[in-house]
């Protein structure tokens, strides 16, 4: 399946991109997308424990399954206000 990955805050600085399109094989979840991304950009790996995620602009968990065409967003700890 083909998914769009969006990166925010320091994550897009570390990966050098705000939006990426990647192919995932088989039954992928948000965690799959994160693993693929962290292998490609090891600098983001330390965020594994603090990152949260959204799928199609709704809050999601690492276990949320993905479908072809989904938009997955990875969110570093937020700092609004």
């Amino acid at each position: 399946m083909r998914i769009t990955i969006r990166l925010f805050g320091r994550l897009h600085d570390l990966a050098g991109a705000t939006e990426l399109v990647r192919e995932l094989a088989g039954a992928a979840t948000v965690a799959t997308a994160w693993t693929v991304l962290a292998e490609e950009f090891p600098a983001i790996a330390p965020y594994a424990r603090s990152v949260s995620a959204a799928v199609n602009a709704d809050f999601a968990k690492m276990t949320t399954p993905l479908a072809d065409g989904d938009e997955v967003a990875f969110l570093p700890p937020v700092s609004g206000g």
């Binding site: 959204a54 969110l75 937020v78 609004g80 206000g81």
Partner: protein, 151 residues
């Protein structure tokens, strides 16, 4: 700000006016100092559609916790100079306790779950500020916000 106040204190058409006697507002502005650094400006980035969803979650939580309160809030994005307002919250209620609590709760929740990131440009560099891991479904952080709202 006046617009937000109008939103929460206005009454339904046909209703007698002024059922909401207490209006509490919160304004967050860009400070010139943070952790010893001389701040020059801030840049806020948001994941807008998710931010609107997060704001909806917060508004629903307020409705459940303080049925008599109405809230309106707004967060700016982009580059902000010193002294500029980044976030505004308005809460109205028949009595002041609920208005104070609802207002405080909203700003606590915005800081906990709204997908907004602050990049601080200070004298000598810049840094992404990182606070809470955004988890809108985490009961513990909602309870913590409620505790800070003192109700």
């Amino acid at each position: 700000m006046a617009e937000l106040i109008r939103l929460v204190s206005g009454d339904e058409p046909g209703e007698p006016p002024a059922g909401h006697g207490a209006i509490v507002t919160f304004i967050g502005t860009v400070r010139g100092e943070n952790q010893g650094r001389k701040v020059v400006r801030l840049e806020y980035e948001a994941y807008e559609p998710l931010a609107l969803r997060a704001f909806g979650v917060i508004a629903d939580e307020v409705r459940n916790r303080w049925p008599s309160a109405r809230v309106a809030f707004h967060h700016r994005t982009g580059s902000l100079a010193l002294g500029e307002a980044s976030v505004m919250v308005v809460a109205a209620s028949p009595h002041r306790a609920e208005a104070f609590s609802a207002c405080r709760y909203v700003i606590e929740r915005v800081k906990q779950i709204a997908p907004v990131w602050k990049r601080e440009f200070f004298e000598g560099g810049d840094v992404w500020i990182e606070g809470a891991a955004a988890d809108a479904s985490d009961e513990a952080s909602s309870e913590e916000a409620y505790r800070r709202a003192c109700e």
